[in-house]
């Protein structure tokens, strides 16, 4: 249902882009008769009224058919499917690192009594949304590549001449599955800097939510109950963390959805390829079907991410489960 509404929104958003994809694909230098134009439009699925196009698009989305790109002629679904996994993998690795770092910081806040450390850790939360990721990337490249030569040149996932195995489409996972350790180590080296940038840039956003939860829950009644009933210190900390997570989990979901499209800036900086680049290209070449297919795919990814968020929060907090009374 959501996807249908969204598909419609994407359809109209894409239609307001100026330019004519039909003219962009055919060679119109020797003039173009109306019949030739109509034939080209029909080949692209852009004939008929805007409503019949919308109807065709809906039916296509339901069948997993997003039409064919007006530039490459290949099906949009397969174009996206060949690029999406590497983006998803990068985002998942980056956010995984950010979640891990947030949890480590949470343990630091709960256990440390060093005012300076606490201040630094709390200040870090205030940088949420205030770090331009590609600038950190540029600073990192200048420092670690140009000056110190620690990381390889930001030109792709592997050194030139190395091929990537293809099983599932997730490049790092595929290297593991096919036991290609040369490809794996090269990818680790090439992805180290972008991964680090992602972790450092997006940890504060998650961490700020987690910190809000921690501050709220640290002296809440359930914590006092645990202490009063003589629970061990790790058990108390675990209890606080579990109750403090909900906001941060929602934030991870939102970040995931935003980054699948937003990580394109880093992907371009490090020449990693990915689905975002496909969208930018399709705006440039006025490729309606590719762009609306991309938007639908991203929306689907977001909806799945939101679903996972709800499931995780249900696991963490029994009060959120359906039919659990719901009076809190």
């Amino acid at each position: 249902m959501h996807l249908a509404v969204f598909a419609t929104a994407a359809f109209f958003l894409v239609r307001v882009v100026p330019g004519d994809p039909v003219l962009a694909t055919v060679d119109a230098t020797q003039g173009l008769t109306q019949e030739q134009y109509d034939a080209a439009a029909a080949a692209l699925g852009l004939d008929g009224s805007i409503w019949s196009q919308l109807g065709n698009f809906w039916v296509g989305v339901l069948q997993g058919d997003l039409g064919s790109s007006s530039v490459t002629g290949r099906p949009v679904a397969s174009e996206i499917w060949s690029r999406l996994p590497s983006t998803l993998e990068l985002v998942a690795l980056g956010l995984g690192g950010a979640i891990l770092l947030s949890l480590i910081l949470a343990v630091v806040v709960l256990t440390s009594r060093n005012a300076v450390v606490l201040r630094v850790v709390r200040q870090y939360a205030k940088m949420a949304g205030a770090i331009p990721d590609f600038c950190v990337g540029v600073l990192g490249i200048v420092l670690l590549y140009t000056m110190l030569h620690i990381v390889p040149a930001p030109l792709g996932r592997v050194d030139p001449g190395t091929s990537l195995p293809l099983v599932t489409g997730f490049p790092v996972l595929d290297s593991l599955l096919t036991v290609r350790f040369d490809a794996l180590t090269q990818q680790v080296a090439h992805l180290a800097l972008p991964w680090l940038v992602l972790v450092l840039t997006y940890t504060p956003t998650i961490w700020r939510q987690l910190l809000l939860g921690l501050d709220e829950q640290a002296a809440a009644a359930p914590t006092l109950f645990r202490i009063a009933s003589g629970a061990t210190r790790p058990a108390i900390y675990a209890s606080i963390l579990r109750r403090a997570c909900a906001g941060a989990v929602v934030m991870v979901g939102a970040l995931f959805g935003g980054l699948v499209g937003g990580v394109v800036v880093l992907e371009q900086l490090f020449s990693l390829g990915g689905v975002g680049q496909f969208a930018i290209d399709s705006v440039d070449s006025v490729d309606f079907l590719a762009l609306q297919g991309f938007l639908v795919a991203i929306a689907a990814v977001c909806l799945i991410a939101f679903l996972v968020v709800d499931l995780v929060n249900m696991l963490l907090d029994p009060r959120r489960r359906p039919g659990a009374g719901g009076n809190s």
Binding site: H2, V5, A9, A10, L13, V14, V16, V17, P18, L110, T111, S112, R113, N114, A115, V116, L118, R119, K126, M127, G129, A130, I131, P132, F134, C135, V136, V138, L139, I141, V142, Y145, T146, A153, D215, A218, A219, T223, I227, I236, Y237, G257, G258, V260, G261, G262, V264, V265, Q268, L269, G276, A279, I280, V283, D284, L295, I298, A299, C302, L303
Partner: protein, 298 residues
């Protein structure tokens, strides 16, 4: 970490930090130090174009000269002075961020008021209110940057079109913040009191609902300022922002990145550093402003 700090010796008794009141903060940074960096950047934005040693949009020397006495930040691959361009870009980027912040905050608060007040009404008004609300929810699922690319592509690259694009991206959040507050105060007794005293609905909304519901959006506006600088530069970096030779940090970085591989690090590093410093200074101001307004209202 076993570093003993002054704060440690002041608080020698080990307490379970889970239940203890928050550890006493280290000394707070004085206010002028928080606002000074942003003030300097604004001054550069205002006065910068008159101070730069070279025309920021002209080729002034041979290409790719390393930073030195003649060109403090070197020259880029086309031979334009990087220092002049970084300084000149400050104004463009700040003006865009300022106009985006103003328009999203004003429009966001007004739309938030309208949506919040009319959401549960019947008829067309309620239908429209709920419709706008649905659109805001939908906008969660579209990556902001992609919307920016589409909208910027729609109007062609100019300061105005980019500002519109960024406003579209950042508007939903402001509406949502205001709407949540409106829903909180909508049924308060003083609104009914004002209505009974003969105020029209518009007067009630503007004189009583607005002042009680605009604060979250106002506090968020400094965040909007910072984010709009970042997104504008990201669009420039992706090649849909202001096109060269206009001095703009994002497009300067994207033009300079390929030079890094050749060892010419300066043409990308300096705009990146300028952008980072600006956003960081905005962030430090916004934190201080929020503390200030919160402290005063208590």
């Amino acid at each position: 970490m076993n570093v003993t700090t002054p704060a440690d010796t002041q608080n020698p008794t080990p307490v379970a930090s889970a239940t203890a009141p928050p550890v006493k903060r280290a000394r707070r940074t004085p206010a002028w130090l928080v606002f000074a960096p942003f003030g300097i950047i604004v001054l550069i934005g205002i006065a910068g174009p008159f101070l730069v040693p070279f025309d920021p949009e002209r080729v002034v020397d041979s290409a790719s000269i390393a930073p030195g006495a003649a060109h403090w930040f070197g020259t880029d691959a086309t031979g334009m002075d990087v220092f002049s361009r970084v300084v000149a870009a400050t104004r463009v980027n700040l003006i865009m961020a300022l106009s985006v912040t103003l328009s999203t905050t004003v429009v966001g608060i007004l739309l938030g008021l309208i949506v919040g007040m009319s959401e549960s009404a019947g008829g067309l008004q309620g239908f429209l209110g709920r419709g706008v609300n649905r659109v805001i929810d939908l906008s969660d699922a579209i990556p902001a940057l992609v919307v920016g690319v589409v909208v910027a592509g729609l109007f062609g690259p100019s300061v105005l079109s980019l500002s519109v694009a960024l406003s579209v991206i950042l508007l939903p959040n402001q509406i949502r913040l205001t709407r949540a507050e409106v829903l909180r105060v909508r049924n308060d007794a003083y609104l009914d009191a004002a209505r009974m005293a003969g105020s029209s609905e518009v007067q009630v909304v503007l004189r009583h609902v607005l002042p009680n519901s605009c604060r979250p959006a106002l506090e968020n506006s400094s965040h909007v300022f910072g984010v709009s600088i970042i997104v504008a530069a990201s669009l420039g970096f992706l090649g849909v922002g202001l096109a060269p030779p206009t001095a703009e940090w994002g497009s300067m970085i994207s033009a300079g990145v390929s030079d890094i591989m050749l060892g010419r690090w300066w043409s990308a590093l300096f705009p990146a550093a300028a952008l980072t410093l600006t956003v960081a200074s905005v962030a430090s101001c916004s934190g201080a402003l929020t503390r200030f307004t919160r402290g005063r209202s208590r």
